[in-house]
Symmetry: C2
């Protein structure tokens, strides 16, 4: 069963917004095993939209449209799709009630034009929208399926997961199961090289890499007759990936981020943490604080951007700054030492680097970053070289700091477990 997607909205054709729904739906389709060959974007124009829907239905079995379900006259997706499918629009009492309930919850009364959103094509399935007013629609005709979803990502994602996934799963004879393996501290090409045979394999289990800053995510997908069978196919591949990549695999849970895995490690080992940042200027702390519940182990952090702040706040020696410069292994080492004088955290991390675009020298070029991580007295210093814009270099430094923290905490914990330390 082949699928394709159509995105409706003049704002997309003007570049006002980036189309993140395209990647979201594409990944969902890939996970569920629907081959997709085309994505199309078209404006709020009935004639051109009709042409796109007809062409898509002609070449694919399943067509998903997103956008143009709003209450205004510009929103024409439902009307156009119903016309192509030869279905008239009728007032749907359930849809009306849901829209009224949505407004009531917000303490507002429904405007007259929202009634347009309660009109549904005859013999169609209504999809509840818990995040907005536009219900979704599924229509079937002559073996073809047309799915209409709202444009705002928070409405589309929830509706897709709650209503469309179960519907589509009932349509396929095979069950698709996919798991995510997240890898840190390895480049995409290193991961691809180590897993070359798995990524290239066209067997029952597919492995697809997704590159992120400082990370590579691997989606492992299997098709089988039932979920149990599919899981059974995926399991040894994950085991194989873990065996090949070792500790670089930080989670096999889709929802766990790198910062979450670091915070989880800290919580599990009852370790508190503090940060002292120069070039990243708070972004490392900011990312750790993304994790709900971090307050258990993160109490405070410092941003020492100037040399004076490095001296005054965390006691970096003037001599060290003069001899080695602010971007040096010696300075980041003194930064963690100094911050541990202020707060008795178990783990301390410091970052200092040349983020650019100016300030680089032949000895210390833009992109040179030093990171130090102290875990219960053992300090590890790492030198990194990044490229790209100021923003990219800073984000890469934050990711590298998280990777280093993870590595140092794990090393400490394994030593403690084997009685080598403390």
């Amino acid at each position: 069963m082949t699928a394709e997607t159509i995105f409706v909205g003049t704002e997309l054709l003007l570049g006002n917004i980036v189309n993140t729904n395209a990647a979201y739906l594409a990944e969902q389709m890939a996970v569920m095993g629907f081959p997709m060959f085309y994505q199309t974007t078209v404006g709020d124009n009935a004639e051109r939209l009709e042409g796109c829907i007809r062409q898509a239905l002609d070449r694919s079995d399943l067509v998903i449209l997103s956008g143009g379900l709003g209450p205004t006259q510009d929103d024409i997706t439902k009307e156009t799709a119903a016309k192509v499918m030869g279905k008239e629009l009728l007032l749907n009492e359930d849809a009306k009630k849901q829209i009224e309930a949505y407004f009531a919850k917000k303490g507002k009364t429904m405007a007259e034009n929202n009634l347009k959103q309660a009109m549904m094509p005859k013999d169609s399935m209504m999809l509840e929208n818990t995040n907005g007013t536009a219900p979704g629609v599924i229509m079937e005709q002559d073996g073809k399926i047309l799915v209409l979803l709202p444009g705002p990502p928070e409405e589309l994602n929830l509706m897709f997961e709650r209503s469309v996934v179960p519907y589509l799963q009932s349509k396929v004879s095979q069950v698709i199961y996919s798991a995510m393996v997240k890898v840190c501290g390895m480049s995409e090409s290193d991961v691809a090289q180590q897993l070359d045979d798995l990524i290239r394999s066209a067997g029952d289990v597919t492995v697809a890499p997704y590159a992120k800053i400082g990370e590579v995510h691997l989606r492992v997908t299997a098709k089988a007759e039932d979920e149990k069978q599919a899981k059974k196919l995926v399991k040894p591949v994950i085991k194989d990936i873990k065996a090949r990549l070792g500790d670089a695999v930080y989670t096999t849970h889709e929802e766990i981020s790198l910062e979450q895995s670091v915070v989880d490690l800290l919580l599990a080992n009852n370790l508190t943490v503090t940060t002292v940042e120069s070039c990243t200027g708070g972004l490392l702390a900011g990312r750790l604080i993304n994790v709900p519940g971090v307050s258990e182990i993160f109490k405070m952090g410092h941003i020492t951007y100037s040399n004076k702040a490095k001296r005054k706040i965390v006691g970096v020696k003037r001599k060290t700054l003069e001899k080695y410069g602010a971007v040096s292994g010696q300075v980041v080492k003194e930064m963690v030492g100094g911050v541990l004088q202020i707060t008795r955290a178990d783990v301390a991390v410091s970052v200092s680097g040349v983020a650019g675009p100016d300030g680089g020298t032949p000895e210390k070029p833009v992109g040179l970053v030093y990171i130090a991580c102290s875990v219960c007295g053992t300090v590890t210093v790492q030198e990194c070289h990044f490229s790209g814009t100021r923003r990219k270099i800073r984000e890469s430094a934050v990711a590298a700091a998280l990777v280093l923290m993870r590595r140092c905490i794990m090393a400490y914990c394994s030593k403690v477990t084997f009685g080598e330390n403390k």
Copy 2:
């Protein structure tokens, strides 16, 4: 002259990456005044790609393709496009030299398969790639134009601005000129309401709003016979927008960000700044430090996430925390007071809020954020209510803090100018 875009790459159809090139090229086309009705994404498949190119050339005058210009056998865009245009591929010595030079600069030798990238369609124009190895191509045939660009955004953007814009400008009889007006501290709907007639106008000058977190960007575009005339059309509209929105307009320069405008204000008035953050946990400082040259005015910042850190580092009173809670106007006020005891900055900003997803109460719901800004002794406190995920709430708080800083600094400076203060 109508335009459309085609994006080539199986990674887009699998959702491995978000297609930011689509929005970039769409905005560029809109700015240059080429109406665009379609965007298509297709995989690395010669037959389907050929179909897409033929359809696009059939309905549009200018077709821009992105992706599939790499050195591997999977990269088939140039070969397919040349076939459609009826042009043979020939080795281009200039292209070969440029690719060799690119590798030499990186200290590497060119691999044999990179020679594929030096093959150019007969009678085509080669576009230099200064950020990678794949040259771009422009082909003309029977009044139609086909432009081939590399997929990586940093290569595409630079090539587009350097080579494609001048080429396309030579093709249109009218000159397009556009300016950007950036607005902060107003919602998109407030801006749209105030500028309704300008946004809806179909005259010589168009105004298009682009919503960002805490900001609205307005692109003002005019077509005229020459640039002087176009600028003359744009000027009064910008003046009109400024008159209607007042101080909410923070810049009319495309490249200036909100944090840059705040840093520029600080630099211009010789004011230093410090931050003390709770729920935003370093993101505000992190954003200020995005601006190169910020070291002149930003020396240090603090992250006081726990109540104890608020007491210990910036001296918030235990009594205040007990009576009003950590998320309160009183606490953010004491936070700025306390941080100014540590560092004698002219401006201090503090943030404390409930970022969620847990921790909300009926009195203090998720999304409640307090911000205080002290400028040379005058403290302003603001209460904000945001919605969305933990990440969205924190980013909204950072944007609101920047807006408040800007407003307070401007108020202080105007007072100083008029001799009311100091």
